[in-house]
């Protein structure tokens, strides 16, 4: 695995692409090391805000050393990032986490399922993946984002909670609406969605990988802040609490007790 580093990245461009959702391209050497499903920690500038904000990597351009982050403004730190303009600098820590096991999808029928701010990592994953890609995206309302980028790499299906676009409901309702089938699922999104996917995968004997979120501090496995319950003893502390930043964020659905 590539060495983790803290580096200063340069903002190439940034634009708002939906309500509270920003699309940021950074130039940094870290881009070369990225695997789909990994994340970086982005540092706010102010000394009153200390901790890196974990943000999943949406896409990379390895030749140009560029990394794309699509994130939601959720507090003061991300609000600060959203004001960054081309030429600004941001300190980032990376590359963090394990990423999706892309090879498990090779030649198979796959669901790539993204809910809300869990959608961005699906892009780098879809780009890297070799298989029959069915991309299921869940949004709150007609403020869609990244659905056009993703359509280049597979068949995109959209659900919205308010029914304004596509299937009314969530990503699980898409499966029923179109009678879709898969051998492997890779997913990122809110906890209720991941729980539903875990249950669906277990009932149908499908291999599923889900990406989890938790409040983090160090991002490198030192502080044991961001753990999740696991069904077997975890590799680090041997107590059924795995570190999402290190053993995760992607877990085989049956491995975690969510």
């Amino acid at each position: 695995m590539a060495q983790k580093r803290k580096v200063t990245a340069t903002v190439i461009s940034q634009k708002q692409i939906a309500e509270q959702i920003y699309d940021l391209w950074l130039e940094t050497k870290l881009a070369k090391d990225v695997r789909p499903g990994q994340f970086v920690g982005v540092y706010p500038h102010g000394e009153s805000m200390l901790l890196p904000r974990p943000i999943s990597i949406c896409e990379t351009d390895k030749e140009k050393n560029r990394l794309r982050l699509v994130y939601r403004v959720a507090g003061k730190g991300t609000a600060e990032f959203s004001a960054c303009k081309a030429g600004d600098r941001l300190d980032i820590l990376g590359v963090l986490g394990n990423g999706f096991p892309v090879d498990r999808a090779k030649g198979k029928r796959v669901f790539l399922m993204g809910g809300g701010i869990g959608i961005p990592p699906m892009l780098e994953l879809a780009k890297a993946m070799d298989g029959k890609k069915q991309i299921l995206l869940g949004y709150r309302n007609k403020e869609l984002f990244l659905e056009e980028d993703l359509a280049e790499y597979g068949d995109v299906y959209v659900a919205t909670e308010d029914g304004s676009v596509g299937t009314k409901g969530n990503v699980m309702d898409i499966i029923n609406a179109y009678s879709l089938q898969a051998d492997v699922i890779m997913a990122c999104g809110p906890m209720p969605m991941l729980r539903a996917i875990k249950k669906y995968a277990a009932q149908n004997g499908i291999e599923a990988y889900i990406s989890l979120e938790e409040r983090m501090a160090c991002g490198v496995g030192a502080c044991l802040g961001c753990v999740c319950r696991t069904t077997k003893t975890d590799a680090h502390s041997h107590v059924n609490n795995a570190r999402i930043c290190t053993e995760g964020p992607v877990f085989e659905a049956g491995e975690v007790d969510i």
Partner: protein, 300 residues
Amino acid sequence: MNTEVKIAGVTFKNPVMTASGTFGSGMEYSDFVDLNRLGAVVTKGVANVPWEGNPTPRVAEVYGGMLNAIGLQNPGIDVFMERDLAFLQKYDTNVIVNVCGKTVEDYLEVVERLSDTAVSMLEINVSCPNVKEGAIVFGQKADSLYDITSQIKRKAKQPVIMKLSPNVTDITEMARAAEAAGADALSMINTITGMKIDIHRKKFVLANKTGGMSGPAVKPVAVRMVYQTAQAVKIPIIGMGGIGSAEDAIEFLLAGASAVAVGAMNFVNPYTTVEVVEGIEAYMKQYGIENVTELIGAVT
């Protein structure tokens, strides 16, 4: 120029260490830091058996600092010795093992297990605010602290550092009790109990409701406590609380600490420890200081 310090007969190549719980067992930061550059690596608290720790969320940012309520998740002494200690022994640095327990017997078991190892010192955590039993109780009552310190001293083969809690009325009373019981050194401060509330959800941010505060915002409290304690006892003090730069570290040395530890600021800048070492050297050069020990308690 000499950056060496001695604590309870143990020589440290420089006075910069890692604060327990913020640096894993060194492994997690070895991508960033050459561990050979550090005076010591102080490991995450380890108990006689594995501990699960608290439910999540366990961490929260606060203004100029953070709260944590990890609850001392650790793999227990067996895995620790096999994996973490084996890893650390490859480096030319002192290893200080932070020990936690729910009962005096728990602590004694760990202390005994470590007796035949190359560990340089033991740091006894009697000050974790995030676990209900044991731990903090020993660190908030002078007679309990005296009792556990003397029992550990009887068993320990290595010098013993008692890690003090700032969550007391008079920290010098605790320091004196530890010294009287034979502690070889003190480390301070552990985290200050705090709380954060999410006003939109009307909920506690941490699952444990309270958490230990650390980071730059606690530094003035820590410096004051180190100073007061250095006036009250003769045993050496390892100072910590918000150290993120050589300037911060030097404040602690001047207040009376013989060494310092970097905690939460590792999360902000993973290179902090080595930058503190280099910054102390630069400061010594700037002021023509030959021995770093000249700085200890030099404030007037």
